[in-house]
């Protein structure tokens, strides 16, 4: 796939992930059928698949095989899908639209959506522990890495800080901690897990990749905040303007739109400079960071 244009590489990778998710998810008619059908509804059929794309792009740094990359990409995407289903629930964001379709609890019902989120999380770890990914000790490290990035000191912890901060004026360091956990941790995990599927990295390489991933995670969030206030619901496939409506702290609220854009550009430059030790192998990651920075949805 190395000779493909970026847009074609992206489409091919997204299609590959969709197909792998379809295989890894339980069949829609397997007992309990309603739960399994709802899990497939929540995880399949759309999404930008940014985390899988990062895993595949990072896999090129270490020459990782596509079969292993499918496993880690799907595990990370299941964690992401679970978090969306739970975030959309009435007791959280109470949202009705996701990826241009009714949210899981609207299409099914609230107890089912709760179990869908729970079960997608479990399946992510089942997959990562079950499928062959090389050295068992390294695979255990991968399970640990994904768990730590997802839990109360990662994604779920960021969500908790977000809950506590509604209506409060956060300073930039607090806002960055919230986002570093809420979105950043899983984006870092996707990137590292992808690279861990291939040849071992040196300590320096791993640190460089970690630095790239942290900047890319923050960049993704800054752009998300900009889009939430500049794009419309139809383009986003989810409710636009809801951060501002909920009085949530965003980079745009904190810095203003122009300064937020300038900050995004700075993060992009920083992220790309971290990739220099990898040379030409970093081509897809570079293209992906550019894409994240310039996306319109």
């Amino acid at each position: 796939m190395s000779d493909l244009l970026f847009v074609d590489w992206m489409a091919a990778t997204q299609a590959r992930c969709e197909s792998a998710l379809g295989r890894f998810l339980p069949a829609a008619n397997g007992i309990p059928a309603r739960l399994h059908s709802a899990m497939r509804y929540a995880a399949l059929g759309g999404g930008k698949r940014v985390r899988p794309l990062l895993a595949f792009a990072a896999g090129e740094l270490t020459d990782a095989g596509a079969e292993r990359l499918e496993v880690v990409a799907c595990a990370v995407e299941m964690i992401h899908a679970y978090s969306l289903v739970h975030d959309d629930l009435p007791c959280m964001d109470d949202d009705v639209l996701r990826r241009g379709r009714p949210t899981c609890h609207v299409e099914y019902d609230e107890p089912t959506a709760l179990l869908v989120g729970d079960s997608l999380q479990t399946l992510a770890f089942e997959l990562l522990a079950r499928e062959p990914l090389g050295e068992p000790a390294r695979q255990l490290e991968m399970v640990h890495l994904l768990a730590h990035a997802s839990g109360s000191q990662g994604m779920a912890g960021g969500q908790a800080i977000d809950l506590e901060s509604v209506g409060k004026a956060l300073e930039q360091p607090e806002l960055e901690l919230m986002h570093a956990l809420k979105t950043g941790a899983l984006i870092c995990a996707a990137t590292l897990l992808g690279a861990l599927c291939g040849h071992p990295m040196s300590v320096d390489q791993r640190e460089a990749l970690d630095r790239f991933a942290k900047r890319a995670g923050l960049l993704f969030q800054v752009i998300d905040d900009i889009l939430d206030c500049t794009a419309n619901t139809a383009t986003l496939g989810k409710t636009a303007g809801k951060d501002e409506a909920a009085n949530k702290p965003t980079y745009v609220a904190l810095l203003g739109l122009d300064e937020a854009r300038r900050y995004a550009e700075e993060l992009r430059t920083d992220a790309l400079s971290a990739l220099s030790p990898f040379g030409a192998r970093a081509r897809r990651l570079t293209e992906l960071a550019d894409f994240i920075c310039h996306r319109h949805f």
Copy 2:
């Protein structure tokens, strides 16, 4: 601990688990403090700790060390605690009392309780992947085993069948499938994980233990159904009679009280006979099955 009376062994093991959970859970003042404090509230301070007791008792079959047993016991108990927090939510059982105290969403709030359940699940897998438990390949198998037992083809799947079956008259095979998943799968996992912390088992031993664990899981549920209709709320520390009130299928509803008691006795005998290949090493498991059968809370 092998010279202790069963009641003293049980108390010592429960205290050991409580202390280990206290160490493995995030500190109550670590950011995000409200989430971490709520996780501790939900997982500490009570419960019969049946699954940890099973793990420790099964560990005696293979001479497993206490440090490893603490890890698997806490991981299983975190999965159990997460399931209780989510089951108690307004969109599920909408319960206000658990272990004699307000349920997590009553003591804290609903979004926090949702994140508590999510994060306790993640922490279970983080623990099981992070702590040293011997051979990495076997440890990966343990992560896989716990995940499979907890997900849509295990505990969460049983919960989904339970949701679908309210108000329906289930036949005994369907009721048993529901319970085999909802309670049985995690009880089996606790038992197997405990034994997997020690010397390798032969194929025959593993099959025997699996047979014991399946019977013990079913026994636990039959007794639970009997207690739900014969004991009172104060003794149970949770709302009594709610299965009948919710028109949920139970063994008592299906078989009548006397026949349910007879069936429990049959399951106990079956479970104990499965332990014969282990000889005197099965003493704690035997005592525990007796205790489960004759408990009053």
